[in-house]
Structure formats: C-alpha cells, structure tokens
C-alpha cells in the first residue's frame, strides 16, 4: 500500500513538474520581448507591458510553487518507501 502510494506521489510530482515547465515555456512568457519601445511606446503601451509582466511573474511564481509541491511529494514518497523497507513492515 505504501509503495503504491509512493508511486502515486511520484507520478503526481512528475506531473506537476511537467506543468511547471509547460507554463514557463509558453510563448506568453516571452511576449514582452516583442513589445519594447521599438514596437510601441507611450503611457498606454507602458501600462500594458507592465501588466503583462505582472502576469508573467505570477505564472513564474506558480511554476515555482508547483515544483516545491513536487519536491514535497517526492520527499513523502521517499519516506513511504523507507518505511516500507523497514523489517516487519509489509
């Protein structure tokens, strides 16, 4: 049971890392590179780019959170597997 749960945790961790990587690889995350002053400039463009970067930062933070959760799940899986390996634990 513990081993199965550990495997489940590891699958979940992999899944979370995949999502984090996918989010950070989105073209949205590089969109501001095409929105510099050579493209447009002025109060409104500056506001839009600022807001876009705010959303990008939020997504980066979310990706980090996902990775932290993945790390935590791996730790839990390690613990479960260590416990399962102890003598007398099925």
């Amino acid at each position: 049971m513990s081993t199965a749960l550990a495997a489940k945790y590891r699958r979940r961790a992999r899944s979370l890392r995949t999502l984090a990587d996918s989010i950070e690889a989105l073209p949205l995350m590089q969109l501001d590179a095409f929105a510099g002053p050579d493209t447009w400039r002025g109060p409104k463009p500056a506001d839009r780019v600022d807001r876009l970067r705010h959303f990008q930062q939020r997504l980066h933070a979310d990706a980090e959170t996902l990775r932290r959760r993945a790390w935590w799940l791996d730790q839990q899986a390690d613990d479960l597997e260590r416990t399962a390996a102890l003598p007398g634990i099925a």
Partner: protein
C-alpha cells in the same frame, strides 16, 4: 518607428507582428487549459493572463492599428473654413463687419480676454455666413490674411504656446456648449502649423462639440453645417499634419476623447468605437478620400439624429453601443450591397485584405468591453430579432429570394451572432450578473431570443465560430431555440438551463464532500492539517450553499490552506467531470 521625437509612437509592422505573436501565445496557453489540469492556482493565473491578453492586450493593439488606419484614411484636402475666415477677416468681408474693424488693434499688448473677445467676434461673424457663396471663395491660404488679423492670430498662438492654460480657457467655452470663434480660429492656426499637434487635436475637440449641439434651426442651422464642415476640414488637416504616433498619444488627452465622442467623461471603449465608426468609411468601394471622410462623419451624425443628441450628452455609452450594433453588421461588413462570402472572400479594408470574420473580430475587439457589453448584447438581440422576423416574413411571401437578399441577411446575421458571441464572452467573464439578468428576462418574458438563435442557426454556419467561454451558454440557447421552433415547449430555457447547470454542479460538490468517504480518501484526509479536516467535517455536517465559484472562498474562510484548497478543488473537479459531460450531452 515613425520619426517623431516625443515619448509615444509605434511601428506598425512590429505591432502587427506583436499581435500575431500574441495570438500564437494565446493558442498555446489555451492548449494547457484544454489539458484539464487541476492545479487551481496555476490555472487561475493562466486564465487571468489569457483574459488579460484577450480583453486588454490585443484590443489595445487593435485600437492602435485602427487609429493608424483612421488617421491615414481621413487624409484629404484642407477644408474650406480657412477661405471663409480669410474672406470674413477683411479681404472679402462687407464694409463695417467685425472682421474689418479689428484691423490695427494692438494685439501684442491686448489683455488676453480682450484678444479672445475679438477672435470670438470674428468667428461669430464667420459661422452664420457659411456656406459662403462661390464669389467669396477667393483666398486659399493664411498668407493672404489681412496683416492685422494675421498678427492677431499669431499673437494668440504665441501666448498659447507660452501658457497651455490659455487654450484651456478657450476650449472650456467651446466644450461648455458654444463653439467659440476663438476656438475656431485656434483651429485655423493649428491647421497652418502654428500650434503643436496635441493642441490641434484639442482644438478639434472643441469644434466637434459645436458640431454636436442639439438640432439647430435657422441661423443656428447654418452654423451647425459650418461647424460640421469645420470638423471634417480639421480631420483632414490633422491627418495631413499629425504623425499617427502623436495621435496615439493624443488619445490620452480628455479633450481628444471629447473630439472623438463629444463628451469629456467618455470611456476609452466608447472613444474607440467612434474610431471604428470613422474607420468604417474606409470600407467604401469609392476610393475617394473625401468620400471616406464624409461617410465616416455622416455615420456619426446619423447616430446623433437617430438616437437624439441627448444620448450623446447623458447617455453617450448607450447611444454609441446602440449605434455600434446598428451600423457594424449592416454598414461595415456588408456595405452598399457588397456581397462576399463571409468565410472565404476577402474584404478590402484599410489597405488590407481581411475576411469578414477578421473584420468582425476587429470591430468586436474594439467595441466590446465591460461597459458596453450588456447593452450591445441587448441591442444586437433586438435588432437581429427584427431582421429574422422580417426575413422569415419575406421568405414566406417569396419562397425563393434573390441571392443578394439572402447574402445580405446572412452577413447581418453572421455579424450579429459574432458580436453576440463576443459580447457573451465578455459578459460571462466580466458581467455575469448583468448577462444573467438580461438572459433571464429574455428567456422568461419572450421566446424571441430562442427564435432568433434558431433562425440564425438555420441560415448561418455559426457553430464553428463560437468561443469556448460562451459554448455552454450558446448550447443552452440553441436547445431552447430548437425546442421552440419545433413547436414543443422548451425543455431547457436559456437562463433556466444555465441555472440548472450551475445548481447541479454546486449540489454535487456538496454531496461529494458531505458523503466524504471517497473524497476524503482521494484527498488523503488523514494527511490534511487540522483546520482542513475540521472544515471538511463542518461541510459534511451542514452542507453549505456553495458552488464551484464560491467553494474556494468558503474553504478559505474556514481556515483551509491554499495548498489544500487547490487539492480539494482538483479532486472535486474530477468527481464532477461525469456530470459536466452529462449536462453537455443534455444541452446537445
């Protein structure tokens, strides 16, 4: 980048590339959404980012590109107002006129108030005499001005440049309801390059207010025509003298928004709409710039006449929203009997080849936003229902209509449905309450919406164009519509169907949590922190009145950690997936 030295500007090619990249980025982001991840916080951030790009980022780009198109489109010859002023200023003015009497006055030392009074008098002398007889049109440039009047105008320009508040004083009169002669003459200076570009636009704002005064009669009517002509002339002059980059920045100025929409308090969306109305002239088959400019402003004046000038004073948003729905489907997309396949044949628009869908999307993105969405929806509905009724009646009378009629109807319906869809997206995302009010009122009070949608569905291949956010809503509408058309009592009314959808979801959440055994196992109840376990116990003991939209807040209030909230919602979503599928099937 255009060579303007100011702090604003844009490069059209780069901006179009940015728009294309933005669309690609949106598709990629949506694909992650479609993968149905359950990580609520990350998905919420992703949804918020997508919503920002859809509702703010791309519309801003579109508005800039549209403004660019407008400023290039309305370019033309300078209006005749200069001739009129010059004539009235002395060289052609009758003996004893005000214009003649100002010659020789010491303008440089004249107090500003006196200077403006003189200028006002000149302007007032000019306005009622418009349009001038052909014999009066004999001077065509400022060079021909009477020396004293020219000095007077230049003195005003000098003082205005030195102290921007002066123009505020001048324009405040005009913006207050009377188009002062001083404002008109400032416009003259602007047209001849004696004022900077922004001032030129601000002067235009004052002039346009004069043009939108309540319907005039007698001498006032002459003046009304004169002002309208001034507006057109000023637009032409602006297009000649102003870098589109400056015009972009000018949108930040309240006076310029006034110029666009005749109300200094108007919101950005409505201002953008008027740009759209202006741009619609460029759809004309007639390549004449003068025709385009005229048509754009005639459309605007038509709006004022159709809905009353008061709508532009106290209810400008409503008036323009109504105008948008009246004009965009019938005038912009299918103009003057222009017949194209809405999906295949390109429309020559603002120098580019666009499909009707692209065009509709462009205008939709400009005009559809939070303040206008519900009104647009309401009026699209009313207008389109009338169209459908008329078309059905015509079809009954003439079993086979002429192709052109059928095509025109198809365009109108296609546009109406697309705008409806855009509105629905926005309404659902931003104004859920308002949308529901409208939908419920329509669904309960009449089945016209259902009739409209059914008729639209039978004529227009709309299925593939619906945005995902309005898909469920539209399905419910279609179900009601089909039932209605078949003569049966609707099995699911629009609002009822939606309400039932949400209720079942919320109820199922509560049931799942209250029953709790499977859910607790799924979320690893024993490993949850104490606050979360207590929260689940509370919910199980007394199922709350929550749904998918409020459950997270409910859990948060109970002290559940963000991490656990995410996990629980993810699991609940898993549990609910079969129900969603079942509801979808029912709505199909």
């Amino acid at each position: 980048m255009p060579g303007h030295a100011g702090s604003v500007g844009f490069d059209r090619a780069r901006l179009e590339y940015l728009r294309a990249r933005s669309l690609v980025a949106l598709d990629a982001a949506r694909s992650i959404q479609d993968d149905d991840w359950h990580e609520q916080e990350a998905m919420a951030s992703l949804r918020a980012t997508i919503a920002f790009v859809e509702a703010v980022w791309i519309p801003t780009i579109d508005a800039i590109l549209a403004l660019d198109a407008l400023t290039k489109t309305v370019a033309g010859t300078r209006g005749g107002f200069i001739e009129a002023v010059v004539a009235a200023a002395g060289l052609g003015a009758p003996p004893g006129s005000v214009a003649s009497s100002v010659v020789g006055l010491p303008f440089a030392s004249m107090p500003l108030a006196d200077l403006l009074d003189v200028l006002d008098e000149i302007g007032r002398d000019v306005g009622p005499r418009w349009p001038l007889d052909a014999d009066d049109r004999f001077i065509t440039s400022l060079d021909g001005f009477d020396t004293a009047v020219r000095a007077q105008l230049l003195e005003l320009a000098r003082r205005t440049r030195a102290d921007p508040s002066i123009i505020d004083a001048v324009l405040s009169d005009a913006l207050g309801g009377r188009a002062s002669g001083a404002a008109e003459l400032l416009g003259l200076l602007a047209a001849d390059g004696h004022l900077d570009s922004i001032t030129t636009l601000r002067v235009a704002a004052a002039l346009s207010v004069g043009g939108a005064s309540p319907r005039p009669t007698g001498q006032h009517q002459l003046r009304h025509h004169a002002i309208n002509d001034i507006i057109r002339g000023r637009l032409d002059a602006l297009a000649d003298t102003i870098d589109p980059a400056v015009a972009l920045d000018a949108l930040e100025h309240p006076e310029v928004r006034t110029w666009l929409v005749l109300d200094s308090s108007i919101d950005e969306t409505t201002a953008a709409f008027l740009l759209a109305i202006g741009i619609h002239g460029s759809v004309a088959d007639d390549p004449s710039l003068a025709t385009r400019s005229r048509d754009a402003w005639l459309a605007f004046i038509d709006l004022a006449e159709r809905f009353g000038a008061e709508r532009f004073n106290d209810g400008v948003a409503e008036g323009l929203a109504i105008g948008a729905t009246v004009h965009l489907p019938s005038v912009v997309v299918a103009r003057n009997g222009l017949v194209v396949d809405p999906h295949d044949d390109p429309i020559s628009y603002a120098g580019a080849e666009l499909t009707a869908e692209q065009l509709s999307t462009l205008f939709g993105s400009i005009i559809v936003s939070e303040p206008a969405a519900a009104l647009l929806l309401e009026f699209v509905y009313d207008t389109a229902v009338d169209d459908v009724r008329a078309a059905v009646a015509e079809q009954d009378r003439r079993p086979r209509r002429a192709d052109v009629d059928e095509d025109s109807l198809r365009y109108r319906l296609t546009s109406a449905v697309r705008i409806l869809d855009l509105v629905a997206d926005d309404a659902i995302e931003v104004q859920q309450g308002r949308w529901n009010d409208i939908a419920r009122a329509r669904a309960n009070g009449t089945s016209d919406l259902a009739s409209f949608l059914a008729a639209a569905a039978s004529i227009v291949p709309v299925g593939g164009t619906l945005a995902s956010t309005s898909k469920s809503l539209f399905r419910a509408s279609m179900t009601a519509a089909k039932s209605n058309v078949d003569g049966d009592a609707p099995t699911i009314e629009l609002a009822d169907g939606l309400a039932e959808f949400e209720t079942q979801l919320g109820r199922e959440i509560v049931v799942s949590i209250a029953g709790s055994s499977s859910l607790r196992e799924l979320v690893g109840f024993d490993q949850l922190d104490e606050a979360t376990r207590n929260a689940l116990d509370t919910i199980a003991a007394d199922p709350p009145d929550v749904d998918v939209h409020t459950l997270d807040g409910f859990l948060r209030d109970l002290g559940v950690s963000e991490r656990d909230i995410g996990d629980i919602l993810g699991k609940v979503t898993e549990l609910l997936r079969p129900i969603r599928l079942e509801l979808d099937e029912r709505l199909d």
